[in-house]
């Protein structure tokens, strides 16, 4: 490779190896040109490396989980038949029954895996909360104050709006399972977490924290907000 070819190649593929790298090692002037070009390439790479939105991967996985859930709901007979068949095969074949985790366990599992979110204390906007509910077709107008985090999350076999509310006795996690209504209200304790699940509108409100002192207040404010919300049919 001669100098002319090297300079042309420098603007085409500055990372090339082979003859290109060999010429660079042998020619001081081309090595200088390469150093200048490398500075530009580094700046270019860095400029193109724009920050990605927070929770990008989670929002994609959430959309996929929601889509799967909708398609399962759209074909309930098939799903039920296949599920029953699969469960029977599994039970006969390996002698075990596969059960989804109950809500308290699924909620605590989810919380334990996202413990770092509890450290968030900066208030978030009402708009971000509205947007999260809107993902489920819920239009919520009156937003209880004080949340420091919101996201749409798969929680075990459920999908939920996940919020964190920093309180004086420690953060409280608020989950709203939009279309999974559990039959009864219950208080529970799992792995050191105090919890409460409350059937609410078409779904279930779940509260989790190390201290339940603020549960009544949060239940009341979120019940009012969700009862006043509109649900897309």
């Amino acid at each position: 490779m001669n100098c002319l070819e090297f300079r042309r190649r420098l603007n085409i593929d500055p990372q090339a190896g082979g003859e290109f790298a060999q010429h660079r090692a042998e020619c001081a002037r081309c090595a200088e040109a390469f150093a200048r070009a490398s500075g530009f390439e580094k700046s270019l790479r860095s400029a193109l490396d724009i920050p990605t939105p927070a929770n990008l991967a989670e929002s994609i996985l959430f959309a996929q989980a929601t889509q799967e859930r909708i398609s399962r709901r759209r074909f309930p007979r098939h799903t039920a038949w296949f599920s029953a068949a699969a469960a029977a095969v599994l039970a006969v074949g390996v002698g075990v029954y596969v059960q989804a985790k109950p809500l308290p366990e699924a909620a605590v599992d989810h919380l334990n895996k996202e413990a770092f979110i509890l450290a968030k204390t900066q208030p978030i906007t009402d708009e971000s909360i509205r947007k999260a509910f809107a993902e489920f077709g819920v239009t919520i107008n009156k937003i209880p104050a004080g949340s420091s985090f919101v996201a749409c999350c798969p929680v075990g076999k459920y999908v939920a709006v996940h919020l964190v509310v920093p309180e004086s006795d420690g953060p409280v996690t608020v989950l709203y399972l939009v279309d999974d209504q559990h039959e009864r209200r219950q208080d529970f304790i799992r792995e050191g977490w105090q919890g409460r699940s409350v059937p609410l509108a078409h779904g279930t409100l779940v509260l989790l924290g190390h201290d339940a002192a603020h549960f009544d207040e949060l239940e009341s404010s979120w019940t009012a907000a969700i009862q006043a919300a509109t649900f897309k049919a």
Binding site: A33, S43, L44, A47, L48, L56, E114, C153, P154
Partner: protein
Amino acid sequence: MTTDRSYPANGKQRQFDALVRSLSGDLFRYAYWLCGDEALAHDLTQETFLRAWRALDDLRETAAAKAWLITILRREHARLYERKTPQFADIDEVDVPEERDAQLPEFAGEEGLIRSAMLKLDHKYREPLLMQVLGGFSCDEIARELNITPAAVMTQVFRARQKLKAILAPDRPHGDVVELS
């Protein structure tokens, strides 16, 4: 943020999770530089992965995953423009990208100047350069993806760099071949 995925815990789902976690950032960046709009890039990335989920059985080689996703993303982007109908707005309400971008922190400083310059590049120059710099693809791979010859790819990435440098420093000559003396 991590996910609790006790459902449906099968191989396909695990493969998809890994794909999303490892490549969603790269795909988003690619989408952003393709369309120049963050919200649209987010939607394009999500739609790409949703299509990828439905066609995941077609993916045979792990090493080909990024190129496969970029192919889907490019098709999604093209579809977007096929669907797009002309919209008319009052001239006072138009959000001019250059003016809008100039006010954003990501368009400040040296990197900001390069970002603005990238968005000014014609698509035929911008895309092969993106595939090379962001995607790490060779000229032959880019040629296959863009359905052009490797020689055309070389010409386009050469010109893309020259044009970028000309936008960034319009008063300086940018034909490196003249520096040989």
